[in-house]
Symmetry: C2
Subunit: 340 residues, 2 copies
């Protein structure tokens, strides 16, 4: 960091002096105000460069009451989806000149959420991105009005907060449609927790797709997203053999099911087809490589910030955006064996 000769970081006043103008003119230059003559602007810019001047964020914040910071409230931030969404959020926010402050929830409770929101208001963040995919989160958010734009990722939002989401029902349709096309009639669903927005929506999409095709939709199991829970269900399903195809809520649970089927001698896809959700980088290397539904989490994060910046900078109204998922066909699905 460059320091002025007296050992202090240079400030507006120092730049002004060197450029032979008032500090206010320097302020105008760094804030891109219109009415500054070209000659003055160049003089000031030269002085800024010479001193290595950088604006003091705290001083600016103090008077503008804005911090150029976006708060990201997240849970399960180490998981593939949230982690990548965070990356998209960070990229879009930093590119737009904002700082990104994070608060990770250890548990999703009212108190924890309030605590994190207070943390952000203490920091006078200009907006809050919420990566907490539980249905109850929205209700809690409405209770605590932080006074700045809030965008909930993974939800379509409502009257109070904006939302950016992947079209989960479409994703479920894609998966189930693929299985129906292959000739399956008995298609089960291993869902994520029903208090997670995505979990509920995928289950709903699964049911709707089967209903539309006139097929039964009675095989529904609710897991917790973990490979372990997939494994447990896999053992049960291997014993019962009630379905010829499974739509699984995420790739991790699918991995557990694959493992359980392998142990039990159930062949995938010969005996049972399996479709996952997410398309993690590893999913193509499962045994067998997993057919799944890809979600572009980084794009989701970027869209979230797009919406937020429109609200912050242009005072736009609450709105929402939807990212479309995509089916990735690999080796875990095939037509059912014809029965004798």
């Amino acid at each position: 960091m460059s320091k002025s000769s007296n050992g202090r970081l240079p400030r507006l006043e120092d730049v002004a002096e060197l450029a032979g103008v008032s500090h206010q003119t320097v302020s105008r230059v760094i804030n891109n105000h219109p009415n500054v003559s070209k000659a003055t602007r160049e003089k000031v810019e030269a002085a800024i460069a010479e001193l290595g001047y950088r604006r003091n964020t705290a001083a600016r914040s103090l008077v503008t009451r804005r911090s150029q910071t976006i708060g990201v409230l997240g849970s399960e931030l180490a998981q593939y989806g949230p982690a990548n969404t965070l990356l998209g959020v960070e990229q879009a926010a930093r590119d737009a000149g904002y700082f990104v402050s994070i608060a990770a929830l250890r548990s999703v409770s009212r108190d924890a959420i309030f605590d994190a929101l207070r943390h952000f208001t203490d920091q006078s963040v200009d907006g809050i991105a919420v990566l907490v995919p539980h249905t109850e989160t929205l209700r809690i958010l409405e209770e605590f009005n932080p006074g700045v734009p809030v965008v909930a990722v993974g939800s379509l939002g409502d009257e109070a907060v904006s939302g950016a989401m992947v079209d989960q029902k479409r994703g479920a349709e894609l998966a189930v449609g693929h299985l129906i096309e292959l000739g399956h009639r008995r298609i089960g669903h291993v869902a994520g927790p029903s208090d997670w927005i995505d979990g509920a929506l995928r289950a709903e999409g699964w049911r709707a797709a089967l209903e539309e095709a006139g097929l039964p939709h009675d095989l529904l199991l609710e897991g917790d997203w973990s490979a372990g829970s997939g494994y447990e269900f896999g053992r049960r399903l291997a014993a019962e053999r009630t379905a010829t195809a499974l739509f699984v809520g995420n790739d991790q649970m699918a991995l557990g099911i694959l493992r359980a089927f392998n142990e039990a001698g159930v062949r995938v896809p010969d005996d049972v087809s399996v479709v996952g959700f997410d398309d993690q980088p590893e999913s193509g290397y499962f045994t067998p490589p997993l057919t799944t539904v890809r979600q572009d989490f980084e794009e989701l994060g970027r869209r979230c910030i797009d919406i937020m910046l429109k609200e912050i900078e242009a005072g736009a109204a609450v709105s929402s955006t939807v990212v479309t998922p995509e089916l990735v066909r690999r080796a875990s699905t095939a037509s059912p064996a014809t029965e004798h």
Copy 2:
């Protein structure tokens, strides 16, 4: 957020007025200065509670030149290791009353790192945690002196910056030792990139362990951490069959190898034993469940902040800390088949 009757957020002055003291006394109370009488402190605390007063961070920052913010510079933040380290960092930092600002590197270059560091100095962060596990990072850090404590995660640090790391050589020893104990003599290593600190250290540990046991250490392949690169090597190794056991740099590459071996009819662990590194939540559900070396990333992150806070708050000298990894035995390792 509670507002005072005139629509403004309450400030020190408002609290002082209500409590019948000076603003300075209120400041003393919120900063826990000693010389404040019990009666006064209680009066002030009551006023603070009544008004819902919260200190203005920007104003405080402006005068103290400290922001109560820790910057986290990371790359590959969506990967299991870095993502969990970030979680540990966030937890420890927020618990200590700090804000956590992140900057994710899209590419690891001098420019990108400088950019991110400038981003942090603009924000006057009080310390910087670096989660960029490339060997060159340290050199770049030394060039740019941010003027605040820096802790590099995944490195032992050096004279200029502190470090928090997992004992990678010990981890490699654990893995290789386990294989030797099982009776393997030809133990190959699929390493991570050699310009990653962890990759280089694990390879070194592998070599050292074999050397000490008087075993050959000529089968070394360098991957890129991805399942895809593991898969490629797996195909080659399946064809060549030069080793009876493989120590793999991380669980993802191990997954790729498992996949390739499965395709090629190489049985694990009957024909070849495989040990991974990391112990991701999924590793226990691979086919077969993976023997691996567990690293406690969250602990690593917490330790990193412990060190940093000591430097920030107590002016402690540059130091370092080491987290010990642990072997997790599962089904991907066994004694080699006795040859005829």
